[in-house]
């Protein structure tokens, strides 16, 4: 069996809180998980769940109270491990007196590249993250999204085998988010492993081979997004349009929700055909029929104790 890309065993972190009478607060509680080679792994959890703490522990920025972790077989205490990883911190902040080009040059120097190799890499990665035109502007003049882009470039400029991204979509516009998604997929295509934390569940669902859900420092579950949420349907959603001036069938009128010319109707699976017959009778145009399954978002809300009902309108609209 091959060595896992990331192997975490019983990782625990306590922080002292309070000024005079220090007490320990557990931020991460015995986290154990394995991330396989060439996997896109999503690390999910609400704010304060312990995602950033885990990433900081793996990067050696903080030290565990208990437990161990290995990346590609090397202990996280081993600085040589850092040659094989790339890291984008949450809300990254870089030396603002440097330009993007200078920052990438600075970061790539630690990997012993020749000056020619550095120049080539810098040009390519600036192009990759869409910062060619801003390459020689000081980072203090960069927007949050631009900083995120340069942060991604510095994390992967040395072709790391394992890439850790802490909230990589944060601060990016839809185009930027799509570009980051492409980068993540490309990294996987090249055989790399990507471990990223996020609270944007749609990103996790669309990107990840597997996810882990963390809540209050404890691991709640690990698996493919489809394994985490039940595949059992809650019902069916029918999206339809009526001709101008027409009204929905009387039996369905109370249950159909109108948005412009479109109607959305949630019906139990057993009533689906009857509802479709009614709609056919009034010459409705059926746009889609979608099974209602709990999404990762619903699982997430259930986990954190929220009472959010399954909401599929947004997902349907996106389709």
């Amino acid at each position: 069996m091959s060595t896992p890309a990331i192997e975490i065993q019983g990782l625990t972190k306590d922080y002292p809180v309070g000024f005079w009478r220090k007490r320990m607060r557990r931020s991460l509680d015995g986290l154990s998980l394995e991330v396989h080679d060439n996997e896109i792994f999503g690390f999910l959890g609400p704010n304060g769940a312990g995602k950033t703490t885990t990433l900081k522990l793996l990067m050696g920025l903080i030290f565990p109270t208990a437990g161990t972790a290995r990346v590609r077989g090397r202990s996280i205490d081993d600085v040589a491990m850092h040659r094989e990883i790339g890291y984008l911190p949450e809300q990254p902040y870089f030396y603002d007196y440097l330009t993007a080009r200078e920052l990438l040059d600075y970061c790539s120097r630690f990997f012993g590249f020749s000056s020619q190799d550095r120049r080539t890499r810098i040009d390519r990665f600036l192009e990759l993250v869409g910062l060619v035109s801003a390459a020689d502007i000081q980072l203090r003049k960069f927007s949050k999204g631009m900083l995120q882009r340069v942060g991604i470039a510095q994390a992967i400029i040395h072709d790391p085998q394992v890439v850790f991204l802490d909230e990589p979509m944060s601060g990016l516009d839809p185009v930027g988010r799509r570009e980051v998604r492409d980068v993540i997929f490309d990294l996987k295509r090249q055989g790399r492993t990507v471990f990223f934390s996020t609270h944007i569940l749609s990103d996790a669902e669309s990107l990840c081979d597997r996810v882990a859900v963390l809540h209050q420092g404890k691991l709640q579950g690990t698996g493919a997004p489809g394994d985490i949420v039940s595949m059992e349907t809650h019902g069916m959603e029918v999206l339809f349009e009526l001709r101008a001036g027409a009204a929905p069938p009387a039996k369905l009128a109370n249950r159909a929700k109108q948005t412009g010319r479109r109607y959305r109707l949630d019906v139990p699976e057993t009533d689906l055909y009857a509802a479709l017959e009614e709609l056919k009778a009034c010459d409705a145009r059926i746009l889609s029929v979608t099974p209602l399954r709990p999404s990762l978002e619903d699982y997430f809300f259930k986990l954190v104790g929220g009472e959010k009902k399954p909401s599929h309108a947004l997902e349907v609209a996106q389709q």
Partner: protein, 274 residues
Amino acid sequence: MSTTAVAASSMAPAPPRAVSTIVAVNTFREAVRDRVLYNLIFFALVMIGAAILVGQISIGIERLVIVNLGLSAISIFGLIMAIFIGVGLVYKEIERRTLYTLLAKPVHRWEFLVGKYAGLLLTLVVNTAFMMLGLAAALWYVAGTFQRSDVTILVAVYFILLELALVTALGLFFSCFSSPMLSTLFTLGIYVTGIFCAEIKAFGELSKNPAMEAVTKVIYYLVPNFHNFNAIAAAAYGDPISLTLVWQNTAYAALYVTLILLAAAAVFSNRNLK
């Protein structure tokens, strides 16, 4: 965006000395791009300009006044830079989280510290060299020539640099675990104590109190004796400075700096970053 364009290339890790050098060069670049630095140079040059003016109205002792004021200006402005930049060296990196990306690279924490220290020291050397040039210009303007005894001015400047090296190490040490405000207080406190440590020891001996004597003796041996590095008066009067004192001061400063940096590395290597 596609990463496929990037060709895989062989990657050799940067050797440890190179890692510290990379950090040092960047620290120097930061200081050079920091406007505060230029203000300090400006004030130092103003100070030297004032020395020329004062020298002109000090008939017969122009050289004495210019060397005294010039070297004092170099020392004071060097100290201000060493303390105020030194105490923020590590703290600022933690506060702004710029350290996160750096420590995710193959960089030991001690390499980072040595690099930051060397970078600030390089900055201080360059600034002192500029101020020294200003002093030399002022001296040339007033005296019209240089004397053989002016070599002692260079030695005095070298001693100032040794003093700054020590103060920077202290600032860096405190910066590893406390805020810039506290670090400034601690560093200044040790500096002032270090200037007067001989007097503190003498006071203990005079008190005839064994406890007081023991405390003052500990302070005397623990705190670096900054008074040893003051050769401004000797330089102003053109008194020779022995080579023995030069190497003694060099060894003394090197030993203290090494010990302080080792302590800083020990503290910082075990520190959880927020």
